[in-house]
Homo-oligomer: 582 residues x 2
């Protein structure tokens, strides 16, 4: 791409040299004034060269025939690991939906592999037709109640900021660490402020604690769940990202907070988007359509999906159709149902009618070596089904059981009478009481957390996943130790993934060999593998559509109430490990 200060760009802008492309007869979305203009737009060397009433001289004319031309969409915050795709495959799926920019927080791979994992994703993004930016993952591990594969301090993160693609310290989830004044946490915030900006994460935080968090310099949040919460946060100067992902969906609740005077304080993000949802329902385009369907002015929605993100991350080259900015553009027909028919990145047509253009260069410039990311699932020597036995200790009358819900990350805690066999607590599928194990898999610990969970509802078999937020240890839920062992071993052999086991047989396995989180398959193959996996879930008569979503969040000890990590049961509200026996 040409430099903004190139004399050729000036010459094309003046009209003294022909452009590469001119878009004529379009309705052009101006995200500064939030108005629609009937102007021609010319592109040269990957940048917008000129905007004017008359068509400019150009090598190629694209007659828009009354269609709309808008800046491409930018996701303000997402974890690409949740798509289970490497960046190239992600681009293949997301770009046809109009995504031309993203801010990746490589938090998941960082928890498994540390800085080399972050470097892998960054290297694997170079050369792709998308503006892939990064946040420096701020909370690895996210909690002291689990053993992750790595620990990152401010000194580890510091060199990341030398890369111009690193635009923020990513979501500072340890908001108590901030407002309680933890020095190592504040050191990371300080680093972020010195080198860029600091993104936040503070669900439900309010009043004095929120004020303290903002005082530290944290300048955004994507965890709002009510309009009142969003309004309180923008009144303190935060940028609020309206999140609509596969798990958390907040747009409907938050749209009422947006008005003409404050719209510049809002962006959109997806945070976590699963492979099938991304492919079938879309990415930020899906969020924009939803917001517009809920009554948000479409041009304001587009501005929130483009300029406001670029402004937040200080990216004056992105986010608008304006002279000198990158020609990241989408074409669509209907403001009420925005579906990009053409997508341009840096002036190149990269997608048409929902599919990538086949000739677009997708070779990675850096050709990263991902070998260090493989074989990341290391079960302790001597691990057998016996390792999953839970011996009765005090012969308590009641045990703690995690109450999982199919579409919430929050869990409950129930106290029930245990079933005992051979002096061990065992699953009782007749009462939907299944055994849960979280097995350390990073080689940094031999811990196995054991407990019980209700909510999965199958009668025979096991499900296992090496996606287990945030430390991504191996989570297995099952009716018997033997199927659970088979499931864990199958994932160890695959180097990670998700699987369904019954009667000692692996019915389906979705391999995620890269850090146990990401597929190395083509996106479409991955989506087929995931469909097959979920079909097998039906085969073992699990009533949940996608039990891997709740399973992968059962270890997360920063979300209430009762969770299981490799250290055991964690009462998140009380911030302590608790016994199985009440």
């Amino acid at each position: 791409m040409i430099s903004r200060t190139s004399p050729e760009l000036m010459a094309v802008a003046r009209g003294d040299m022909p452009a590469d492309i001119v878009f004529t007869n379009g309705l052009v979305i101006n995200v500064f004034t939030r108005r629609i203009e009937e102007v021609a737009v010319s592109v040269f060397g990957g940048r917008i060269a000129a905007i004017g009433p008359d068509a400019m001289d150009a090598a190629e004319t694209v007659d828009l025939g009354g269609r709309f031309l808008a800046p491409g969409f930018i996701d303000a915050h997402m974890h690409v690991e949740s798509t289970m795709m490497m960046p190239r495959e992600f681009v293949r799926v997301a770009a046809p939906h109009g995504t031309t920019g993203v801010v990746f927080d490589p938090h998941e791979i960082a928890n498994v592999l540390g800085m080399p994992g972050i470097k892998l994703l960054m290297d694997a993004s170079v050369g792709l037709p998308m503006n892939i930016m990064f946040g420096a993952s701020s909370c690895v591990p996210s909690s002291k109640f689990e053993n992750s594969g790595a620990r990152l301090e401010a000194d580890d993160l510091e060199p990341m900021f030398d890369d111009p693609r690193v635009v923020a310290l990513a979501e500072m989830m340890n908001f108590p660490g901030v407002f309680l004044g933890d020095e190592s946490v504040l050191a990371k915030v300080r680093l972020g402020l010195d080198r860029a900006i600091v993104d936040g994460h503070c669900p439900g935080l309010s009043g004095a604690a929120l004020g303290a968090y903002v005082a530290s310099g944290v300048s955004s949040d994507h965890e709002c769940t009510s309009a009142g919460e969003a309004t309180e946060k923008i009144a303190l100067g935060m940028q609020v990202f309206l999140r609509e992902g596969s798990a958390a969906r907040n747009v409907e609740a938050l749209i009422p907070a947006v008005n003409d005077a404050n719209a510049s304080r809002f962006c959109f993000c997806t945070d976590d988007r699963h492979p099938g949802d991304l492919h079938r329902d879309g990415h930020i385009d899906h969020v924009v359509r939803k917001a517009v369907g809920l009554g948000l002015d479409p041009v304001t929605a587009i501005a929130m999906a483009s300029l406001h993100v670029a402004d937040h991350y200080r990216q004056p080259d992105l986010g608008a159709i304006a002279p000198g900015r990158q020609a990241d553009l989408i074409v669509f027909e209907n403001l009420a149902d925005i579906r990009p028919s053409l997508v341009y990145c840096r002036g190149e047509l990269i997608a048409r009618d929902g599919a990538m253009i086949e000739t677009v260069e997708m070779e990675l410039t850096a050709s990263p070596d991902d070998s260090m990311s493989r074989g990341s699932v290391k079960l302790a020597a001597g691990f057998t089904s016996d390792s999953l036995r839970i011996r009765v200790n005090t012969a308590s009358r009641l045990i703690r059981v995690i109450e999982a819900s199919p579409d919430q990350l929050v869990t409950g805690e129930r106290h029930v009478e245990p079933k005992i066999e051979d002096d061990c607590y065992v699953a009782d599928p007749s009462r939907d009481l299944l055994k849960l194990a979280v097995i350390a898999r990073h080689g940094t610990s031999n811990g196995i957390g054991l407990g019980f969970v209700t909510g999965f509802g199958f009668k025979n078999g096991a499900l296992a996943s090496t996606v287990g937020h945030d430390a991504h240890n191996l989570a297995v839920v099952g009716t018997n130790n033997s199927d659970m062992e088979v499931a864990a071993r199958a994932l160890e052999t695959a180097g990670g993934g998700q699987c369904v086991v019954q009667d000692g047989k692996v019915l389906a396995l979705l391999p995620l060999p890269i850090a146990g989180l990401i597929s190395d398959a083509d996106a479409m193959d991955l989506i087929e593998q995931q469909d097959a996996l979920l079909a097998s879930v039906q085969a073992i008569e699990c009533p949940l559509e996608d039990p891997f979503m709740p399973l992968s969040f059962l270890p997360l000890p920063v979300i209430p109430k009762l969770k299981l990590t490799d250290l055991g049961l964690v009462d998140v509200e009380q911030q302590r490990v608790v016994d199985l026996e009440v």
Copy 2:
């Protein structure tokens, strides 16, 4: 001032430690939501610690009794040299008007002294109770049609950006150089983009040329004179500063361009503000009052005078009453006539009822040595009144005369019959035809430009000034060579200034010994000296209230139409030196 990430700030924000000050019973201006909130605001270590419904525990309570509390004002662009004050004196005068931040473009002193002059102003700003930021002066000299005291290229400016107070490349006035693709000009823009942002200056620029200018990365303009011009510029993504200075006054024309949806794209600036105006009428407070008087919503006006400037210059510590930001605050009674009664900078009360608090520390931390800035007026060896004679060359029937106007920088060109004595063209006060000389004074040239001007209207005497935009050569207007020589010599002796001479006697002299631009006196003494100077203007029966304003702009060869520099008469529209004789 405490760091944003200090654990003590967190403790005060949480309410676990008392604040320094709490403001109660105030109506607090929220510049994010542009609403007024009835909340208490606490301050600790120079920063806002907390905002909440109830008064916080604090060492000192300030009961606002229903008055308003707003962020202090920030001037988005000004040349402190136009106030003729060194930064400390400027702070003494401006702070009581509610100014807590400024962006100085040291363009004038740079034209005289180059980088050492810029360094002097920067050093002389350290330790003052105001957030003094700088732009790196982009156009020294501003034109090839005059000899300045220095020339600055991108390589000279580059080290400035290591200082965190340097927030922009300052107004890129050479807009033709940008859009015509001049490499040395584009190198400066590139530097500005790499290290900060690039401010613009493009009066009347429109269409393709404006597009090219914006394409280069220039992101602001403060030269708009019509609402349509402002609207065209914000539609391209520029930040538009509404300027209201002593010479150029554009607020009235521009207010119609501002609305609820686009207000964040506007700021205020003064550009050039003269000593008396600053003291008597005010600074940004004056601009805000004027805008409100013209119908702008007062809270929007305050946001344009604070947050929008801070956002433009990427200063998340400034511009709002929000947790963690600097406690730069003003208190006032009446939204319709905003006059700060209390002014705080970094939590310290610095002014009350229009006067600085006497105990406020005003010592300069850097104690800069200004000796290099003195003696900057160097007339050529052998300069006498004879040097001012204009010999008849072709005995032309007509000569070119500059038509000056008392309140515009634009001049006209008139062709008139000359008066000839002793084979020389001479002044003819009976027709208001006075002689004008612009004498090189930097020791870099011996040039003397000679010509005639109409519009000053006095019958006997001379006026001289070493403020002569932008090269700041010595400009003298007079009825006879003898008084003109006396005036020039008087300013040489004083090391610069402005003076009134009649019959060989200096009636008044305002000394500006620092670079020939800035006084070393106390602000109040300076204002008295200027009053005395202007009284002498009356004494020689000059009908203009302040003839030094037009005089100091007569050399500026970037503003149409006919100008005089040390190289001679310049036809600015034709961009060439022209003969006196038509």
